[in-house]
Each structure stands twice: as C-alpha cells, then as structure tokens.
Amino acid sequence: MADSRDEPLVLGIETSCDETGVGIVRGTTLLADAVASSVDEHARFGGVVPEVASRAHLEAMAPTIRRALKDAGVSAKDLDGIAVTAGPGLAGALLVGVSAAKAYAYALDKPLYGVNHLASHICVDQLEHGPLPEPTMALLVSGGHSSLLLSEDITSDVRPLGSTIDDAAGEAFDKIARVLDLGFPGGPVIDRYAREGDPEAIAFPRGLTGPRDAPYDFSFSGLKTSVARWIEAKRAAGEDVPVRDVSASFQEAVVDVLTRKAVRACKDEGVDHLMIGGGVAANSRLRALAQERCEKAGIRLRVPRPKLCTDNGAMVAALGAEMVARNRAASSWDLSADSSLPVTEPHVPGHSHDHDHVHEVSKENLYP
C-alpha cells in the first residue's frame, strides 16, 4: 500500500442546505468533520428557510474551518486542494460556501474543485468502507433527494436511473411528522415512534410499484396525502391517533419501495454492491430492511455511519480528494453556484481560456 502521506489532503466545504460543513480528508481517510447546523432556527417554520440558512452559513464558516483544521491537526498550507459543493442546492446558501472556498483556495494558492452534492453523498462511503467498487449502485435519500444512481467513476460518470417524480422521501417524513405534531425534522422522531409500532397495522399505498410504472422512479406524494387523510379521519371521528402504528406503517411503506427498487436496479444492471446515502439513510428501518433484502439477493450493502449520511463537509472533501487523485481539471475563479447542477456533472471543471476571456466562454468551450 502506498504511503498515506502521498494521498491528497483536501478540505471540503458544504453549504447546500442548512448545515455548514467543513471536512478534511487524506485520500480515503477522514481527518475532520466539523458541522454547524442552523436546524434549530428552522424548526418553528417546519422546514428550511433559505435566507435563515444563508445568514447562518456566513456566520459559521470561519469558525467551522478553524475547528476542522484543529480537529485534523493539519496546517492550511499543507492542503492539496479546496473542494466545495457547487450544486445542486439552495442558490443563496450554495453561494456562501462557493465564495468562501474560492477565497480560501485563492489566498492559499491551492486548486479549487467545485463538486456535485449528490456525487459527494456517494463518495463519502470511501471514508467508511474504502474505495468505491466500480460500478457502484447508489440510493440517495434525504429531504432534498431520492434517486437511484449508477456510477462507473465517481469523478466523471454518474448516471441517473430514476428519481422522485414529486416529493423527496425525507420531505414525506417531515410532512407526516408535522401532521402528527411531532416537530421538525421528522425523520428521527418517526423512526423512534415506529420502533414501538406495528408496520403492518395500516396498509398505506406503495407509490409507482405497478407493473407499468417506471421501475426506478419514486413517488411519495400520494402516500403523504393518504397518511394525512387517515390521521384526519381518525381525528374527525373523535378517536385517538395511534402515533406509533401510523409512524411504523408509513415508514414501512417508504422503505419498502426504496429498498425494493434499489435491489431490482442492482439485479437488472448486474451490480453486486448497493450504497445508500443521504439523511434518510440514517433511518434504522431502512438500514435493516436493505440489509435483509441485499443479503437475500447476494448484494453487498454499504451504508456509511449516520453522521456521514447527512450533509457534511467530509463528503465534499472525499470527492475533492478523488478529483485530485485522478488528475481532474480544477475549477476556475469564476466558478458559480448552480442550484440545479445536473447529477451527471460530478464536478465543474475550469475552462481553457485565460481569465481575460471569460466573457467569451460558452458551454462548448468547457472540457467534457
């Protein structure tokens, strides 16, 4: 094995939603994962307020960078690169991170790598289970995304097989928690109640699982409405709402569809590994059912520890380190935050022109 000191030392910055994350990795080794969250400030609104998140990122950035460097025990001048989430995400929130990363890379005279948030969610597993198998099948589930992605090379080739056609899985958890008066965010609290409930108590619908439905797409909007109606009917009838059973049955409907489709995608594509990432991957029932179904299908399951599944800077650093290791082109100083950066673009390489000519650069001038 190569001397680990030869592996790229990269600092990653993540601000696509409500977590200000700064992580530091050396190759596939995690050195620091500092996160400042503004989730408490959003709780009373029942969801992430973009302007509140952006303000919090600005305040938290410098202290979080300082903390990450201290935790990692490295000096900024020894870094081999600065990576940052360029998208997708909340536009104003992304822009704070991109501004910080550009200034930091410029001041330290280091290359800058604008990377894709979704590819980072996949790449983070290298910090837990070593280099990603190629290809890797990934199920990404969070408040912002629910996608099945197939990657041959996480720095250059990520193919979307399917995604949600309406709500993200995590959004459905938040919405049902709100209807049940359990607060925000909904994922952890529903997981907790569900452990004491019966997942078969109520037969909630499994969206997009009919024979003619898109095999890898998801839909959670119908489920959400159906659960809300069921709860409202109970209340209208003056009956108590069985929170534990509702939680367990709702959660089962979500994770049943997620795992069923993910396993099917692995079989159809002949992939023997499944990676699950994103905040919803912290759900205990999703982890258990995925384990059970993967074992049955002869698929190796890779799920990072919960703290690496939620948004963090380490995942951005992990992908940045891979960009350095594979000699991918760095981004240029006019890198912009792209709230709808396509999942097919794992990073945003710079253009070949001088800075004087940036105004002439069109899409066609970009490296492939």
Binding site: F45, V48, V49, A62, S99, Y106, S146, T164, D167, S336
Partner: protein, 218 residues
Amino acid sequence: MLLLALDTATPAVTVALHDGSRVVSESSQVDARRHGELLLPAVDRVLADAGLRLDAVTGVVVGVGPGPYTGLRVGLMTADTFGLALGVPVHGVCTLDGLAYASGIDGGPFVVATDARRKEVYWARYDDARTRTGEPAVDRPADIAAEVEGLPAVGAGALLYPDAFPDARGPEHVSAASLAALAAERLAAGEELLEPRPLYLRRPDAQVPKNYKVVTPK
C-alpha cells in the same frame, strides 16, 4: 500598508488596492446577478495590474452594506475568508459611507440612498462626506420624502425615485477605491472601523418555500 477593498452591496462588483496614500489599482463591474462569479477574477486582476500577490496585503476592507443579501454576502464571505487565510485584519465600512465619501459634496446635509428592491431604499443622512448622522435605514421613498425634502441625494436609490429625491445625483454605486480611501484615512487617524458583519436591516422572509428542500432537478 496595503489594503484590499471590496464591496458587493450594490449592483457593482468593485475591488481596489490602496497603499495608504493612494489607490494602486481598481476594478468595477456592474452586474447585479453575477457577484459570485465576478468577484474573485476581479481580485485576481487588480492584484495582477499592481504586480502584487494577495499575501502582500496587510488588511482587508469590506463594504458591510446595507444591500440585497445574496450579493452582500459574497463580499463579506470573501473578505472574512481572506482574513482567515492570510491572518490579516478585516475592516468593515458602511457601504453608504463609501458613497458619501465619493460624492464630492463638501457641505451638508445630504442623503445617500441605494436600491433596496421591493420599492424601498437603504438610506442615511450625512452632515458632510465623512460624517453620517444616525444609523442606516430601509424605507419606502414616499415615507421619507418629507424627511429628506430639499436635500441633495446621492446613489442609485435616489436616482430611481425622483419624486422623493428631486435633487438626485451620482455616483450611482459605491466604488471600492473610495471605500479604501475612507478606510485608510480612518485607520491613519486611529479610528475604529466596523466589524465585518452584514447590515441586513430586514428580518429574513420566514417562509418555507413549497418543496423547500427539493434540490434534485426533476
């Protein structure tokens, strides 16, 4: 002394280098929608024009607004991070003060007003080009028309609303060169500058957009 000054609180993305006695180089571009893309290349250009590297800078000066938030944060986050990486002090200057200083108005009183969007202006009153009286505020022009009546008014906010500001004049936007000159003057006089923290003047719109966290393109 070598100050790097920047401001993104108005539609201008403006950067300047100041050596304590004069502006060494500067760049100003007006594009309200591309602060994020334009700022770092502008810093790079201003340094290259002066034949200097960023590590020669002994302090950073940043306009703290008030200004539309998204653009304002680009300058503040950049200044903050330069300070962190270089280990140099970061000084805040009220963006309206930079405009007042650049106005060239000798006597007073006068008003500076920038565009706060939503049919409002960010504004403040000045006794002279260096002396603000009171804190900056955000208001509808019609609501302050009586208060500013008969006063010359500087900035895009004044030019936009001639009914409230009949004696409106340029410059429209702040320049980092004037911000730097003002900061250099105050530092030389031993004055304290502001903390580099944003002047938002409004509470955030506390609305969770529909599909608030959906970031995957459909």
